[in-house]
């Protein structure tokens, strides 16, 4: 298309604000798909970074770093508490006869708890609660990160273990859209999900376009028995619901990106074949085709260089509409568990993952991907509709 015609087309396109909005939204989604690794705050598939403590957090929750444990062993011999090995994490101070203060050397961060294990039965740990059965004394939020241990009499020899627990620390990262059962950030998962859904959708719809358009042109060019065969195959394909074809293919072949693409091609090729054939037939009746015949051009050249470019605008419109339906078919299949493998979670699989939590009020796992998928498909459909209307003079008012 040349510049003047494009300007005119753009002018007519922008007469509808819905169309402009859907174009903007579609472009945003495409940008999300392309730049997901740079846009997304975390890499949701970096398993090393997932922590169970972050699982199922609602929207806006902070991420936490779980508290740490510091352990040290001491030997209690002849009224003395002596650290085993060269442990410098803890310090032991005497506080009179049969009295020790056990504390963490570094007292900058307040400990959540300090536990002492294995003390003799008659030990008294100030402020601590004793485990009902085990010889464990736990002091919550110890002052100065220290515990004071006293004995009425000379204590028996024992092996003592001190366990200092630090509190969970917020990391500053917020789960804007909550987290899933693996503690994965839903915002990042959605961005990556858009990427996978859009890539699979575009690749699948594109393959269907190539295959279907090729067959449609072949039918228009050869006519006769080949035409009849291709068009009956189109009718046959159209008589099955898309989801049924998809389920059947994936049930037989198993899940995988290339199998989802194959399923979409088998579902969608017929639309391109039908459209390309009828467009090509009407182009073949025009005088410029007769002129090309008069130039004794080979048939393939007439079809590809003269007929195809004149059919392309409508085929591209069909392509934009079919990307949306390829994405929704892939999402449906993934939701049903037969689409993409677990390592490539598309939006459909994210929705499916959240499905089991929806009735326990953890709606956000399905909610986010669901809304995003909805907006994306509606925008792409509106855009495709507008392009189709502009391409079809009959729709002009």
């Amino acid at each position: 298309m040349n510049r003047a015609a494009f300007a005119e087309f753009a002018g007519r396109f922008s007469e509808s604000w819905v169309a402009v909005a859907s174009l903007v939204v579609t472009v945003l989604f495409l940008a999300c798909a392309l730049f997901a690794p740079w846009l997304s705050p975390t890499n949701p598939y970096d398993l090393a970074r997932l922590q169970l403590i972050d699982a199922l957090k609602p929207m806006g929750s902070p991420q936490v770093k779980p508290g740490e444990e510091i352990r040290a062993n001491f030997a209690l011999t002849q009224g003395q508490l002596i650290p085993e090995a060269n442990d410098t994490d803890f310090e032991v101070e005497a506080c009179g006869a049969n009295c020790f203060i056990v504390g963490l050397a570094d007292s900058s961060a307040q400990l959540m708890s300090l536990q002492l294990r294995g003390l003799p039965r008659d030990a008294i740990v100030d402020g601590a609660s004793k485990h009902p059965i085990q010889p464990w004394w736990t002091l919550n939020a110890p002052e100065n990160n220290q515990a004071r241990v006293r004995f009425e009499n000379l204590p028996a020899d024992a092996r003592v273990e001190a366990i200092a627990r630090t509190d969970n620390q917020p990391t500053g990262f917020i789960f804007q859209l909550g987290s899933d059962a693996f503690g994965r950030d839903m915002l990042s998962a959605i961005l990556y999900g858009i990427r996978i859904s859009v890539f699979v959708g575009v690749a699948a719809a594109g393959s269907a376009m190539l295959f279907g358009t090729g067959l449609g042109l072949l039918a228009a060019w050869r006519g006769g028995a080949i035409d009849a065969m291709i068009m009956r195959a189109v009718d046959f394909t159209l008589s099955f619901p898309a989801i049924l074809v998809g389920l059947a293919i994936l049930a037989i072949l198993g899940s995988g990106v290339e199998k989802v693409i194959l399923a979409v091609v088998l579902v969608q090729w017929c639309y391109y074949a039908r459209t390309a054939r009828s467009l090509a037939l009407s182009e073949l009746n025009k005088e410029y085709i007769e002129a090309a015949r008069g130039m004794r051009l080979p048939a393939w050249r007439i079809m590809l260089r003269h007929v195809l470019p004149n059919c392309l605008p409508q085929i591209i419109v069909l392509f934009t509409l079919n990307i949306a339906s390829a994405i929704s078919l892939e999402s449906s299949l993934s939701f049903l568990g037969v689409g993409l493998p677990l390592t490539q979670p598309s939006l459909g699989m994210l929705i499916a993952n959240g499905y089991e939590y929806i009735f326990s009020q953890k709606y956000w796992i399905s909610f986010g991907p669901g809304i995003v998928l909805l907006i994306m498909i509606v925008a792409m459909n509106l855009l495709g509709d507008r392009l189709r209307d502009l391409n079809n003079p009959r729709f002009e008012s």
């Binding site: 040349n2 009849a228 410029y288 002129a291 008069g294 004794r296 051009l297």
Partner: protein
């Protein structure tokens, strides 16, 4: 007398169009014994064209002129009859694609006869490049040369067809035909879609080209004035058949067939307005269901019972004056 070489010859060529039928329709047709309605667009037409000659074909809309033109150009296969180019059978001639370029056509509709998605340079140069007449690197140069030959600026090669007026587009169509060095140019109503003033320019261009290159031409029109001005011989067609074929002076001076006479009677003497047919009395019969015998009999005032039954074949009136009337 000098021996005149025949460039093109058609011998009883016919063309029928059948409506496109699906498999099911074909089957029900066969079961019910119904024969699908067929159009006999061209019915056993014989013509020949000498080297350097211009043959006019005239007739009302729908009488099969374009169909005949397409068969002559080899764009459309014949349903019957034979075509020859310089004595060679057409099928083998067309099979040698590069030689087949010697017959070219200029189309009626300057809008749809150019592919709107290609630049003018590509439209003109494509044939020559594909057939190796010029290398691809020289395509633009070749196209520019052709554009200058038809009176357009050489820099038009980078523009698209819609940027030109109807007359300019028709020049581009002529340049496209000339680009492959044709020997026979078939012009199918090449000026019918243009304004009268532009028509004259295009006609002058065609006459110049004919003079420069000694092209043989078949000039199809329903404009009798143009035909008279341009052609050496004229064939008059009616409902797919040639009804009269004679030298131009002979045909205009001494028309024999009642149809030709009616056409000429309707032709205005003073050529100020558009010199096309005056509507002549009677309706044009449907080519789907043509009248029996002589197709012209429902409109002919000399018709007899014989005309309704038997088909008049071409017969000689004088030297090289043929007509198909039983009562002339």
């Amino acid at each position: 007398m000098q021996v005149v070489q025949t460039v093109f010859q058609a011998d009883e060529v016919s063309r029928v169009f059948e409506p496109a039928r699906g498999t099911i329709e074909k089957l029900t047709d066969r079961l019910t014994g119904k024969r699908p309605a067929i159009v006999q667009a061209v019915d056993r037409v014989s013509l020949s064209l000498a080297q350097g000659e211009t043959l006019g074909i005239v007739g009302e809309s729908g009488c099969g002129k374009s169909t005949l033109a397409r068969m002559i150009t080899g764009i459309l296969p014949v349903s019957g009859g034979t075509r020859r180019f310089r004595g060679e059978d057409y099928e083998s001639f067309l099979a040698r694609r590069r030689d087949a370029l010697k017959v070219q056509m200029v189309f009626q509709d300057p809008m749809s006869s150019l592919n709107g998605r290609l630049k003018v340079g590509e439209i003109i140069g494509e044939g020559a490049v594909v057939h190796g007449i010029v290398p691809r690197s020289r395509m633009r140069e070749h196209a520019a040369k052709m554009l200058e030959r038809v009176g357009l600026a050489a820099d038009s090669i980078d523009r698209y067809p819609h940027q030109f007026s109807g007359g300019q587009r028709q020049r581009i169509g002529i340049a496209r035909a000339l680009a492959v060095e044709p020997e026979l140019l078939v012009c199918d109503e090449a000026v019918a879609a243009l304004d009268v003033s532009v028509q004259a320019q295009i006609i002058n261009l065609l006459m110049d080209i004919r003079q420069e290159s000694g092209l043989s031409m078949i000039f199809i029109s329903h404009d009798l004035g143009l035909i008279r001005h341009l052609c050496d011989r004229v064939a008059v067609m009616y409902l797919g058949r040639v009804v009269e074929l004679a030298k131009t002076s002979e045909l205009f001076g001494n028309p024999v067939h009642p149809y030709t006479q009616m056409l000429l009677a309707g032709m205005p003497r003073i050529s100020t307005e558009r010199r096309t047919f005056m509507p002549i009395k009677g309706e044009i019969p449907s080519p789907l269901n043509p009248p029996s015998g002589c197709h012209f009999h429902p409109r002919c005032d000399r018709a007899t019972d014989h005309c309704r039954i038997s088909r008049p074949d071409l017969r000689e009136k004088g030297p090289s004056h043929l007509h198909a009337c039983l009562n002339a």
